[in-house]
Symmetry: C2
């Protein structure tokens, strides 16, 4: 019942990849040509492997269109789609393979801001008075275990209700649960925030619909974000996760790594209820 | 320099596909699970094969977002993206494999309308008086070569300036270069339109930028669209192409098949300058 290869070499199921990729001009930037040729090859292999129906493709086109249309300056639904398909973590992992002993990367997420308030070591970053107070402390070290001076540590977390300040500009104080710190010669850092809480990624759009159709929940396990930079070292984008969190093994965006699960120890007495120690180990550049 | 597989089975480059696909609930619709698992597998294979950089993925996210945002009721940029990557033709080809001798499908395109004017055999469909007049005629046959009665033939083409009526609602008469015809017992059809002209797909958006970056032109070779339906036969969505067209071997959307290239014969005398004969052969259902 199938037709032979088109006698003049026109498009057919059998030669579809070659047909499309042969169309690129010789002048195409070689890296762009490589990436697009691989994308075409794998997308065509997908459609062929599952014998994708026209109705299914129409549904995909509609979903992709809505994913773009719900996106705005405040919401990036395509990043969310990439996140829940594991693509964001895969791209991060491909580009940030580190030597044994170095702290691992995880996804940046959409809630980092460039201009978080600079604070002194030991400062409080929780400004809304909500949540269980927690002391975060530790050292930033090189691969030899020596402290690194002058490290910029940018931290951020959700508040006790599961929202970042930028998600609630009319509710939360600006800079709530955020701060930027710089290490001294001892490489030590410390600040007081809250024990983060788990939260769902926005699930009222196309990505939420997809998760529901796949029987997947939208929750991320509780975590503190870190963006750590120092001259001569690779940028470290990571989280520390709250050990024992209900969603630790089913993070909706696959961000958890074993080495990033931090301890939270109860503190007796005082206003600060928890202490979470964690040392970061940076990888030299190159 | 690479890390070992995560000791607790968390996400890593090596197990990324299993990690994501294991997350689907057992209750997921089996076909949906199959399609999504294959999509994840092939997208991850793509990212890994080319070692996709973060900057490249960011660029892709931005391009996909803009592709959704430029789409509207009048413009579907994601279909265009699917078209130029050969995916639309691939899905069409996968789902419409026909026996030898049957007329092949090609893409529907975005310019079909559901309520084109019904006309009598031999009628003129060109209402704006522009272009080179052409008689289209032939028969609709079954696989045995017998004529089929009561076939609905829906035809449409661009006007002499390369635009469909729906693209220029304020310029072209409604129904210009469109018509719906029904065959009699002889299976014959005939109508007078214009010899179609090539035109560029809309190239002022993200898809146009992509084509330019790949050194590809946006042109489609001249063609007449047909949507042919008859009880007991598979729906035929196809074009006939103008033989000798400059873009025949480089259709921006890969729609050309050898068997769909039609002859255009010059006619001596009279107002009608061309004649394009073409017989359509329908495939029985099942």
């Amino acid at each position: 019942m199938t037709q032979a290869l088109d006698p003049l070499g026109f498009f057919s199921v059998e030669n579809s990849v070659d047909c499309v990729n042969a169309r690129m001009a010789q002048t195409t930037d070689p890296r762009h040509a490589q990436v697009m040729a691989s994308l075409v090859k794998h997308l065509h292999a997908f459609a062929t492997e599952v014998s994708l129906t026209q109705a299914e493709w129409d549904l995909a086109i509609d979903g992709l269109t809505k994913t773009g249309q719900i996106s705005s300056d405040e919401r990036q639904e395509f990043i969310l789609l990439s996140d829940v398909l594991g693509l964001s973590m895969l791209v991060d992992a491909i580009n940030n393979q580190r030597p044994a002993g170095a702290t691992e990367n995880t996804v940046l997420g959409p809630f980092h801001v460039a201009d978080a308030p600079r604070r002194a070591m030991g400062d409080q970053i929780c400004l809304d008075g909500k949540g269980e107070s927690c002391l975060f402390e530790g050292r930033v070290l090189d691969l030899n275990g020596d402290p690194i001076e002058g490290v910029c540590i940018d931290v951020w977390s959700d508040n006790a209700e599961g929202f970042y300040d930028v998600q609630q500009p009319d509710v939360q104080p600006r800079g709530n649960n955020r701060g930027v710190f710089t290490t001294g010669a001892d490489g030590r850092y410390s600040f007081v925030g809250i024990k983060p809480v788990p939260y769902p990624i926005p699930d009222d759009g196309p990505v939420g619909k997809l998760l529901a159709a796949l029987g997947r929940h939208p929750y991320r396990p509780a975590h503190m974000h870190y963006l750590i930079t120092a001259p001569g070292f690779q940028k470290l984008v990571t989280h520390t996760f709250v050990s024992g969190d209900k969603w630790l093994t089913s993070d909706a965006v696959f961000g958890v790594k074993s080495t990033l699960v931090a301890q939270y120890e109860a503190i007796d007495g005082g206003a600060t209820l928890w202490r979470s120690p964690f040392d970061f180990v940076l990888t030299p550049e190159d």
